[in-house]
Symmetry: C2
Subunit: 430 residues, 2 copies
Amino acid sequence: MLNQTHDPDAKSWVNDANDHAEFPVQNLPLGIFAPSGSEDRRGGVAIGDRVLCLRGAAAFLHGAAADAARLADAASLNALFADGNAAADALRQGLFALLTDEKRASDAEKVLFDATECDLSVPFVVGDYTDFYTGIEHAKNVGALFRPDNPLLPNYKYVPIGYHGRASSIRASGAEVIRPTGQTRSSEGSPPHFKPSERLDYEMEMAIWTSGANQLGRPIPIGEATGHIAGLSILNDWSARDLQAWEYQPLGPFLAKNFLSTVSPWLVTSAALDPFRTAQPVRPEGDPKPLDYLWDDADQQHGAYSVSMEVLLQTAKMRDKGMAPHRLSKGPMTAMYWTAAQLIAHHTVNGCNLRPGDLLGTGTLSGPDASSFGSLLELSNGGKSPLTLPSGETRTFLEDGDEIVMRAHAEAPGARTIGFGECRGRIASR
Amino acid sequence: MLNQTHDPDAKSWVNDANDHAEFPVQNLPLGIFAPSGSEDRRGGVAIGDRVLCLRGAAAFLHGAAADAARLADAASLNALFADGNAAADALRQGLFALLTDEKRASDAEKVLFDATECDLSVPFVVGDYTDFYTGIEHAKNVGALFRPDNPLLPNYKYVPIGYHGRASSIRASGAEVIRPTGQTRSSEGSPPHFKPSERLDYEMEMAIWTSGANQLGRPIPIGEATGHIAGLSILNDWSARDLQAWEYQPLGPFLAKNFLSTVSPWLVTSAALDPFRTAQPVRPEGDPKPLDYLWDDADQQHGAYSVSMEVLLQTAKMRDKGMAPHRLSKGPMTAMYWTAAQLIAHHTVNGCNLRPGDLLGTGTLSGPDASSFGSLLELSNGGKSPLTLPSGETRTFLEDGDEIVMRAHAEAPGARTIGFGECRGRIASR
């Protein structure tokens, strides 16, 4: 539902917000931060190059917005989203009024921090992390590498395929990526060796954070699912392809994934994303219609997001030479074969309970051609076709010192573009 | 390390403990309870048919044992095991002295509850739940059903196969089992239907609870892994076989498992299990030796547990007629192809971090013949051979009103047998 907080002409008295590529006053993403050198974490909102402390801002807000700011004065956003999105929506209204009213600037400035002085963390205590597999082009590309004769399995167009990931190893942007060690095989039929992964990869995903909860045994109908989306971040689901190929049968990926998953620390809320809701791409002729529990006309009309995502790589050599990160790909979030609401309806249809702050990964989102492939596995055709970088170096998979930067922006005609910030990680040797 | 708390002749002044099949003073399992009608959860220890409240007992303990009792005065045991097993070991020593010293009975009796007046819950806040697949006979049996030509995959004898399960839907014994609904196919090639599972099953597993933590990126060497085992409970990993068959490729089980997992609420601690440590069964001739990171001579000598497990079924009709539950199987925990220490070493070898109170399932433990098969899938040969029950009823999978009861006991020559209590669940219709 659009309201004044989406007005593309709205301006903040925080001047650098107005031309900011990520965090204008139309965005107001929520996060958890501690001032540098402190461990005293609390909620904050990004505005331009600054972070407004919600503990401090509570004094300048009123009613439901002040109550919500106090809920966000915590080491996670779980309490703010415990009962759904209403509290965060009220907070957004209050913050928008505060940050657009010049007369209130002198008060609010007292609780503004420079973003460079804020240490951001994962915005939620993640009870469970589920990774889906909604990128059908990715599923086809990877399927062709693992099962050349059978790339897309018969269940794919019926079942929103997903599996449980690891909650303990989710970290915020900037966390070091320690190259995992494990079992790999040099060739089919040979015994495994134990060594550091030689096929370390990133996966470009979006993170869907949940709000509210359902009781165990009580599915969330698809018509109510959108109300359980707190918002989105960027997710890099680091993957060790050589470990994965050897371990994944029959129960799925395990050590190939659970050594680290990195999220961008700002939660771009559902309310901020309202102007960017768009129609789910029409299924190709011949694809089956989803079963009833996955189908909702309104969701098909508005359940996708106009978000573009890009991945950049900067090697150690490029850094030394002062060369900018090189873009590896750029693609749209509409590469999802299933909507976020379909994922929630599916996840709970058997009675499984979601809790506030659960993390649902979209799975790697690749477009139909290499310019939008969301992993090196795809870009290098399973390691067979090295990429050449502007530094003259080549890459099939990630080498020590490589840094991956992911960015995303929500863009739509008539709306002020908003960004997600960065999801960054550099490979360290073991 | 055996000490006076393992003396098989030790007696408690709690008289019913001394002949108790589960909870003599040699056991002292820890749990979380609230007195009936209250929500005020705190730690307790089972002694005979009673529960000693650790909040109350702290006043009658001294030094490290009193400190530990205060750590256990919480809604979970996570704090008690935050730094490893030392606190729980001290608590055990103090509780043993308290419960065997007649002179201290009049004090301690004030904080004893009848077990029937205690509402027990899951003993830990589970950060992550990992389910392994260590039952090699189960893996062969199930593999033969899903992949007749390829029952045991090439990685099985090298990789302790595991995957991440759902933390939010773990419940304590007694939780209702609401039959899950989902997508199933009546035959290969046909489109799926949406309906309640018709192949609802149990899985007889043991739960390994972790203590202490490792930093992300820092594996736990196998020689240190045993110190990260807080203790064991029983685990029933309820499974919907029809959902599983359709959804599990390529990323593993998801909705087929995450609707509920039930644990017995008493943590039988590592210290209590010391007399029952036994040698890991020798690998059959021709099986590969595990890679070095999975191998430790001491672990091979003592890393398995002499625990017997049994599964009983009582149908609604049997309950109505006053018939006792019927034993479906009984088997040993030494059916594990990998030790608990090997699971921990493997889980962390890529840098994945464990936290206190993580739950590691052993996977279904089946012996080599039907008397010890740990699931109906195996007992009914994939649903093709119905079992006949003493009531004259037949079963391939679970029907509404069926109740599954799992029990386990640690038994060894010269040691007082100790029990795990029950892991119970009744099927409710949707």
